[in-house]
Structures are given as structure tokens and as C-alpha cells.
């Protein structure tokens, strides 16, 4: 499990178990896992559902490239990206990234880096439905700023 794009829900415990105990040594001393969830409100209106569209082929290519960059930049024993597509409900899991290392700061930074790059480079688009029809979510300048830190 390194990069997965799927309509199915994922199990964080499983992602963590594979990072904690890799098939080959060394084992890590530090594992950071991040999960992004569907928010429940948009401008004070409850979100009834979210649909995630993506660009099959390019999505996997970009996610692999982001993971490879993280593996090269930090001394990681493992890194994982899982992203869902299709229709999701409030509080559903959207994305998980995980990074394992001998060093805690490397695991934090690599996970943070992968999220920042995923947010700006991986071809996913969210549309949120509040019951009055779906609306495409706008990209945020803060995401570009976050990416430029690295």
C-alpha cells in the first residue's frame, strides 16, 4: 500500500499497521498519520453530500510523484497516500497520508508536505451539495502559500 485512489472507505488502523511494521527493516520510531474528513457545514448551511471527481491516470501519477518526493527529501521507512473519489457524506473520510521515520520531525514534515502538495497538484475536484444543488468548491490561495513553504 503506497498510493491508492478508491471509491471505498479506508481503515486508518490498517494504514498505520503497515507503516509501523514494514515488510522489510528498518522499523520506524515515529509515525504521523493525517486524515481529511468531509466538513459538515458550508457557509452555515449543512452539507448533505460531497462528490469527488478526479482525473484517472493523472491522479495516480501525481500522487506517486508526491510520495516519491517525500521519500527522497526525508529519511522515511514508509509513506502512504489514500484518496477517495465518488459520493461521500458529512464526516466521511476523504484522504489519509502517513509517513514513518526514525525521526519524529521527518515523519511530521513528510506528512505535512504530502498534504500540501496533494492539495495543489493532485487532480481532484470537490462539489458540495447543501440540498439546493451542488456547488464546486473553490481553490484557496492559502493552499498555494502552504505549498511554497517547502
Amino acid at each position: 500500500m503506497t498510493v491508492i485512489v478508491t471509491e471505498d472507505d479506508f481503515d486508518l488502523a490498517e494504514i498505520y499497521a503497515k507503516l509501523r511494521t514494514p515488510k522489510s527493516p528498518p522499523s520506524p520510531g515515529a509515525v504521523t498519520v493525517f486524515v481529511g474528513l468531509v466538513r459538515e457545514m458550508n457557509n452555515n448551511r449543512p452539507i448533505t453530500s460531497m462528490t469527488l471527481e478526479h482525473y484517472p491516470g493523472m491522479t495516480e501519477t501525481r500522487l506517486e510523484a508526491i510520495r516519491d518526493q517525500a521519500m527522497q527529501r526525508w529519511p522515511l521507512t514508509g509513506a502512504t497516500i489514500v484518496h477517495r473519489v465518488g459520493k461521500l457524506g458529512p464526516n466521511d473520510q476523504i484522504v489519509a497520508v502517513g509517513a514513518a521515520s526514525a525521526h519524529r520531525q521527518a515523519s511530521f514534515d513528510a506528512a505535512n508536505f504530502m498534504m500540501d502538495f496533494l492539495k495543489t497538484e493532485a487532480p481532484f475536484w470537490k462539489s458540495e451539495d447543501t440540498g439546493d444543488g451542488a456547488e464546486w468548491v473553490s481553490a484557496r490561495d492559502s493552499d498555494d502559500t502552504a505549498k511554497r513553504r517547502w
Partner: protein, 83 residues
């Protein structure tokens, strides 16, 4: 040459993809965009402000001055919002 559209560009154009014969007079992505905008009102609307549109050729992000080749897969989409 396969052209793909995503998110609101797909909705404006009313199709997720279309296939065009490569025209050797198209040098850059910008030339292809000019051609596509003549195809329908939906195309013109979707591609009217290219500062709102990202372009990928063969899964890599490119600028409007990127040189096209026959057989390229060209995708147009909004800034991404996953994660």
C-alpha cells in the same frame, strides 16, 4: 488527440472528453484553446478566462506556450480542490 474536461469545464462543455485530429498549425496549447473556443458557446464559456484553468499534457502540468505533439492527451480543469 484526446481532449479531456473536468469539473465545471466539463459541465459547461457538456462532455468529459472529445477527440480531435491533430492540426500541425497548432504549435502551442494556446493555439488549441483558440480552436476549441470556436466549437460551441459552452467551449467559449469554459475557456474564456484561462487564468481560472489549469492545463495538463500527458498528465503533466504545462503552460499555455507548451508545444503540442500528435497523440498528446490534453486536459483542461479548474485549480484542484481535493484532500
Amino acid at each position: 488527440m484526446k481532449i479531456r474536461y473536468f469539473a465545471w469545464l466539463r459541465e459547461h462543455i457538456g462532455a468529459s472528453s472529445e477527440t480531435l485530429s491533430f492540426d500541425p498549425s497548432w504549435v502551442s496549447v494556446a493555439d488549441l484553446v483558440a480552436e476549441l473556443k470556436t466549437k460551441s458557446d459552452g467551449h467559449a464559456k469554459a475557456l474564456s478566462d484561462m487564468t481560472l484553468v489549469r492545463v495538463a499534457v500527458n498528465y503533466d502540468y504545462v503552460d499555455l506556450d507548451h508545444t503540442l505533439s500528435d497523440g498528446d492527451e490534453v486536459a483542461f480543469f479548474p485549480p484542484v480542490t481535493g484532500g
